[in-house]
Chain length 197, copies 2
C-alpha cells in the first residue's frame, strides 16, 4: 500500500498549482514533452482505448499555423508559451482495440455505432487530456488549458483527412505568476456537490 504524497507534492499537483496566462522565457525540451506523454499514457481509459492524439506546437512555423484559430484573448499568451499541446481525440480509436485490448472483441462494441464512438471517444480522450495536465505538473511544469479557439479551423489545419478532432489546447511552460493572473476563483464545498451515502 502507498502512503499519501508529501504536502509539497499535493501543492504542486493540486493546491497551489494555477492556470497561467504568461510564461517565463525558459524552454521546454523535446525530452520533457516526451516524458509528459510517457506518464500520461499510463492513466486508465475504458478498454484501454487511448483515443488521445497530440500535436505539440513549438516552432515558429507551427505557431504561425495555429495562431489564426486562437480567440483574441488566447493568441498572445499562446504565441509566447514554450509549447502548446493540441489535445485531440481520434474517433477511429476502435480500429486499434484488437491491439490495445486483445482479450475481447472490443472493436465490435463500436464499429458502426456512431453514438457509442462519440460518447466513449470524447470521455476517454478528455480523461487522457487531464492526465496530461497532471503529468506536466508532476514534472514541475505549469499549464494553461484553453477551449477558446476555432475547433473546425484547427481540425482542418492539423488533422485533415482523419477522424481526429481537437478537444482542447494546453500551454505548457514555466508560469509567470506576476503577469495576468486571475485571483483564485471559488470552488464548491464538498457538501454543495457531493454526498457520502
Amino acid at each position: 500500500m502507498s502512503a499519501p504524497l508529501t504536502d509539497a507534492a499535493l501543492d504542486q499537483l493540486f493546491l497551489t498549482a494555477r492556470t497561467y496566462n504568461a510564461w517565463l522565457p525558459k524552454e521546454v525540451t523535446d525530452e520533457q514533452v516526451r516524458r509528459i506523454y510517457d506518464l500520461a499514457k499510463m492513466g486508465p481509459t475504458s478498454a484501454n482505448m487511448s483515443p488521445m492524439r497530440l500535436r505539440f506546437i513549438k516552432s515558429p512555423d507551427a505557431k504561425a499555423r495555429l495562431k489564426p484559430f486562437l480567440s483574441e484573448g488566447n493568441a498572445e499568451k499562446t504565441m509566447a508559451a514554450p509549447v502548446t499541446a493540441i489535445v485531440a481525440t481520434d474517433f477511429d480509436f476502435y480500429e486499434h482495440l484488437p491491439k490495445l485490448f486483445p482479450h475481447a472483441d472490443a472493436r465490435s462494441w463500436f464499429a458502426g455505432k456512431p453514438e457509442a464512438i462519440k460518447e466513449h471517444g470524447a470521455r476517454n480522450g478528455t480523461l487522457q487530456g487531464a492526465y496530461l495536465i497532471m503529468a506536466a505538473r508532476s514534472l514541475g511544469l505549469d499549464c494553461g488549458p484553453m477551449t477558446g479557439f476555432d475547433f473546425a479551423g484547427v481540425d482542418a489545419e492539423f488533422f485533415a483527412g482523419t477522424q481526429i478532432k481537437a478537444n482542447f489546447l494546453v500551454n505548457i511552460g514555466y508560469g509567470d505568476p506576476g503577469t495576468n493572473m486571475f485571483g483564485r476563483l471559488p470552488r464548491f464545498e464538498f457538501d454543495e456537490v457531493a454526498e457520502i451515502l
Copy 2:
C-alpha cells in the same frame, strides 16, 4: 519553479499505478473521501465551471441501491470495494457561473444553448473525474474506474428530478494485486500518436 516529483511519486501516480478489480479489507474513511474531493476540486475547468457532482457509495444500503445497475462483470468487485464514487455531471452547471466565474457573464454563453451545454459540461465533468482519480492515487489509494453500468438506471435512482447525469464509476480503496488483475496492456508509443511541430 517546481522540480519534478520523486520517481516514487511518479510511480504511484502513473507508472506502477494499476486499475484494480479486487480490494483489501481496509476502510476508506469519510475524511479520506473529503480529502480526495478537496484536491480534485482545485484542478482547472473552463471558466471554472466545475460541473462534476459526486455520490460516494459506502453503506450497505447505498450499495444495494447501486447493485441492480451494474454490469455482470462489475457487480461483485464493486460490492466489495470500500467506496464507489458515482462521478456525474450537472448539465445545469451554467446557473452557477455568476458565482464561480464572476468577472464575465459566462451564464449567457450557455443558457438556451443545448449543444454548448452538452459539450462543455461533458468535457469539464470528465476532466474533474480524472482529477479525482489522480487525487485518490496521490493520497495512496487505488482506483477501479468503470463504465459498465446502466446509466439511465443510475440517473433515475440517484439524480431524479435534476439535470445531473452519471459519467462513470470509480471503485476506491486499497487494491489487491493478487486477485483478478489483467496483465499490463500496451500503450501507444509517442511517435504513434503525437508529433512535435
